[in-house]
Amino acid sequence: MKTESTRNGPVTGGPLDSRTVIGFYHVDLAYDDQKAVDNVSFTVANGEFMCLTGPSGAGKSSILRLIAMDAFPTKGEVMVRGMLSSKMSRRKVPMLRREIGFVFQDFRLLEDRSVEDNISFVQLVVGVPHAMILKNNMRVLTQVGLYDKRHRLPRQLSGGEQQRVAIARAMVNSPKILLADEPTGNLDPVNAQEIIDLLFRINDAGTSVLFSTHDHGIVKTFGQRVIVINNGRIESDEKRRVPVDRKANLADKMYIAAARKDRLNV
């Protein structure tokens, strides 16, 4: 990977580097003169798993908003899947969002709809045909291990299960990027580990994952690229060594092989 050093951490590639799916180039974001993001530069390569960490209010969510183009930089440039924030019209934002999956701490499921309807809903919005919706539902719900519970309402599931529904929903339209904003924040350690494993499997299948968390403990358990952010600035950006126990086990390998064979994204 081509890397150059900057004051705020390494920058991999430029906007024209085809491997770069997300690029921040000296980005500032201010809310009422209060800087939430301050001269941040980094890139995320295609298929990379990146962890964004830092205390609450450090600017993690602002960075995710910039990626989703829910906010635009006051200075600098954000590039997502080749689309530049400076040239992005609001009309094109929905097209960009179709390339991104979102997972949140509070799951954000529709409480009055079943698990399957929650997943069907996001496909209906982008015009997936009915027959395809049924196939997709079966695929993603099997992958997250909830096909048997597809008729249940979210409140009839545990927190971990609800988050798995949210991940299935985020992945059903086969996005190229998955943004996970504190996805383990409401979960116990066992469920949190299950969600992290699921995100790794998604990443292993080729989706770039940006995992945001304030919990340093979680970050330490897996070795990936970690950006530490504080007061809107990048404090460190380093690639950690992958621990032995994080390497894909046999079951994971079989799963990934099956997924690739079926041309699945997860």
């Binding site: 979102f102 954000r108 209906l124 919005v125 982008v126 045909p129």
Partner: protein, 294 residues
Amino acid sequence: MFKKAQVAYLIRESFAGFHRRKLTTGVTILIMGSALLVLAILTLATLNMGNMLEKARAGIDMRVFLHEGLQNEQMAELQPRLMVIPGVQSVTWISPETALAQFKESLGEDAEILGLLDSNPLPASYHLILTPDARHLKAVEAIHAEIAVWAEVSEILFNQGWIDALETWNFRFQMASLAVGLIVFLAAVFVISNTVKLTMAASARVIQIQKLVGATNTFIRIPYLCEGMIQGMLAGILAMGLLGLAGWFLDDRLGGVIFFSPQQIFGFILFCIVLGLTGSFSAMRKYLTMQSEM
């Protein structure tokens, strides 16, 4: 353009609100229907007032009295001169004898009193019927000004006060209708707008997810616009239905009152649909500019 599956979803969602929010939607239709009923009554009153005015205007005529002592030829030659005046439809000669006979008839049983007269005091006159477009004060005054200078004419009578009053009341009524109509229109837009705002607030999470997965604002908007239009249409039908029902019950007491024609009913309901659309649109403009609260 939307795909087939999206169109089917939008149609389903346009009606889903009625099922999901029965009470809110029902109350909205009732309130809006009541406001529209006031508007419909006002429109009907304006329509009937206009009809009455047309009938009343048909009675606007002029009586041109001639000086005494004119020769028959002199009086006869006035008839073609009167006929060519713009706004005059027909001219009828009324001899003093005919005038007396008409007067006697109008007196009825009291006609005996005329026996006390030595001679007929009534002058000869011409009765002018005006064309429909000349049945207003300005035209009548123009005809009066043209005839009044003729040497043969002693007096011209027309019901100026009555025409004045008719014109004034017609104008006032139209202005009042316009003002009340405008208030009712704004009230109906306000009611619809608030209901859609409530609906959208209740659907905040749905909208948020739609935005996150890449739904366009147009796609998000359509079901709410359709819902507003359907609410407007149902409120319009309710108002028309209530008015029709009242008309049916009070038919005996409201003799001569005209009701809306099928075309007018269609136009009114179309107006209500536009009203619903306006209300929904104004509610959503503000809502959809809000960010997705990531």
